[in-house]
């Protein structure tokens, strides 16, 4: 084998690293997006479908509102419980572990029914099933998010905490200024994932009579006896919502990934 010039090495390296614009295009998004647009156009053309879609669309606002509020609450609950899970204080650790094990052990629907029929009457909030739903979703997902936070915190190398402590920072300061910022950046993908999952779990609130997307689809279906049409409409709307959220999460990841490709 003869000697290879440096410019040839450069060319080879550049060729393997560079991807053509054709390869870089987000094909999955293009295909999915075109598919959705095509289906929507077909739906709007049919009068029956347009009517059903219009009726079911009315539930989108409430579904999104419930999901956003419940998720913000779950993020807060999750952070507190997650910190408890990594804490050295016995009370905090055991209380947090108890909460996580109980909430993860109950199916979401059971939590929702329990909140509306047992907890809400106790606090006088039974008139507002959407509130019970938000509470139930926040409590349930808070447990899952706590474990996500814990995974993020524990994934930060020990050296960071040791360096911070050796500089004289307290445990609380270490957590707040060194560990958590790095950990939160790491767990953005699973947090975004759970946000999308919660949007789909919000459909369970139809069991307590909340007029969200799935409930409206059921009502429309029972009125027209055409469940194919009703659930197609609901499905396309859920798909559009989760796609938007998914793109939003990716954008957030990209902006906070600080230099990593």
């Amino acid at each position: 084998m003869g000697e290879v010039g440096s410019s040839e090495i450069d060319q080879t390296v550049r060729r393997t690293l560079r991807r053509t614009s054709l390869q870089q295009a987000p094909w999955w998004l293009i295909i999915l997006g075109l598919g959705i647009v095509f289906v929507l156009l077909a739906m709007i053309r049919s009068e029956d479908y347009a009517r059903t879609l219009g009726y079911v669309l009315g539930g989108v606002g409430l579904s999104v509102f419930i999901t956003v509020v419940a998720y913000v609450a779950a993020l807060v609950i999750g952070l507190i419980v997650g910190l408890g899970r990594v804490s050295t204080y016995l009370v905090a650790y055991h209380a947090a572990t108890l909460y996580v094990e109980v909430m993860r052990g109950l199916p979401m629907l059971v939590i929702i029914l329990y909140t509306q029929f047992v907890i809400a009457p106790m606090i006088g909030a039974q008139r507002n099933p959407a509130l019970s739903g938000i509470l139930a979703l926040a409590l349930g997902y808070g447990a899952y998010l706590a474990e996500v936070y814990r995974a993020g915190i524990e994934s930060i190398e020990r050296g960071q905490a040791e360096a911070a402590r050796s500089l004289g920072m307290s445990a609380g300061q270490t957590m707040r200024y060194i560990i958590l910022p790095q950990a939160l950046r790491r767990v953005l993908p699973p947090l975004g994932n759970d946000f999308i999952a919660m949007l789909k779990d919000s459909s369970l609130l139809s069991a307590i009579g909340v007029s969200e997307l799935t409930q409206l689809a059921r009502i429309e279906g029972s009125r027209t006896f055409d469940y194919f049409r009703a659930f197609n409409s609901a499905a396309i709307l859920y798909l559009m919502l989760t796609l938007l959220l998914s793109l939003g999460v990716r954008l957030l990841e990209r902006r906070t990934s600080s230099g990593r490709r």
Binding site: L113, G209, R218
Partner: protein, 325 residues
């Protein structure tokens, strides 16, 4: 575990086998927690096999058929077989030759259909009536639990052979399925908390803040039409038991449902001191048995059986048994 991997594999295999065996033998149980109302809307479909009541299993001599078998044209059917046995004479109105009929029902509607907590079987007026019909037309009915709002669409899609679930005969439903002749007449009625003094009859429903109904029932249409409840105030539940639970918790102001079922629910111990009926029934409707459109053999047989049972007073006996007025 790394020392003897075959041991861990064997124990996992044993665990899997025992789980499968356990699942196969035990029927799916209905959770009956005291805090959530009796039949949670989230229960999985329960298949309760109703004991087959074939009329021809009695030992005895069979007389040759004296008249033609059921015609598709639906003319009055003469008895096709008379079997004399040790248990007595049973005359078949029609002979569907022990055909298995899968009947969809929502077993959360006592006294017509509910799940007996002790035996996990579907019991009630509708079940007993179907027993009687089955004796007369030689079918093997099997009741299966299903959600009510999708039950007619499911019947149309041939998921069931029939639907007997306190189903009111309406023109919209009759477009996609076929109803038998009516077998009982009921009406919608309003229930409120005993402490509620503002709602005295169905005309006051329009002023209620929240009215509970079951999705896809005539209660829902009655609340919207006769009750003039604004759509935003109507709380729709997938099963009526959750509506009663919310009413008892003062989460809603009133519930609109069929009068016999209302009577049954508010006589239960957890509701008897809290709920009351206000006003009289404000609609008149008839229950019918639904079959797939085009299933004229089953439909005519059921209709013929119903005629006989009404004439013999069997339906009145069942009404008395389940305390239905």
């Amino acid at each position: 575990m790394s020392k003897h991997p075959w041991m861990s594999m064997l124990s996992m295999l044993l665990l899997a086998v025992s789980l499968l065996a356990g699942c196969g033998s035990a029927p799916a149980a209905v959770p009956t927690t005291a805090v959530v109302s009796q039949t949670a809307a989230a229960t999985a479909a329960i298949t309760a096999a109703v004991a087959p009541t074939a009329a021809t299993d009695a030992a005895g001599t069979a007389v040759a058929p004296t008249a033609a078998a059921t015609e598709a044209a639906g003319t009055a059917v003469a008895p096709t077989a008379v079997v004399t046995g040790t248990t007595g004479t049973v005359t078949l109105i029609a002979d569907l030759k022990g055909r298995k009929v899968l009947i969809g029902t929502e077993a959360a509607y006592p006294p017509f259909e509910s799940v007996d907590a002790a035996t996990n079987q579907i019991v009630g007026f509708d079940v007993d009536l179907m027993h009687e019909i089955a004796k007369l037309i030689n079918i093997q009915p099997e009741f299966q639990n299903a959600a009510f709002d999708t039950i007619f669409a499911a019947l149309q899609k041939k998921q069931f052979d029939a639907v007997m679930s306190s189903a009111t005969i309406t023109a919209e439903r009759a477009k996609i399925i076929a109803f038998s002749a009516p077998y009982i007449e009921v009406g919608q009625i309003v229930v409120t908390l005993k402490s509620n003094t503002t709602i005295k009859s169905y005309t006051d429903l329009a002023t209620a803040a929240a009215v509970g109904v079951q999705t896809g029932t005539t209660g829902e249409t009655a609340a919207l039409k006769e009750g003039k409840v604004p759509d935003a105030n109507l709380k729709r539940y997938q099963a009526i038991d959750l509506a009663f639970a919310d009413l008892a918790n003062n989460a809603i102001d009133a519930v609109v449902a069929d009068s016999p079922t209302v009577g049954n629910y508010i006589s239960q111990p957890q509701y008897v001191d809290k709920l009351q009926v206000v006003g009289a029934s404000f609609t008149t409707e008839n229950y019918g048995i639904a079959v797939q459109q085009g299933d004229t053999e089953l439909l005519n047989a059921i209709n013929a059986a119903l005629v006989k049972l009404k004439a013999d007073g069997v339906i009145d006996q069942l009404k008395a048994k389940y305390k239905i007025k």
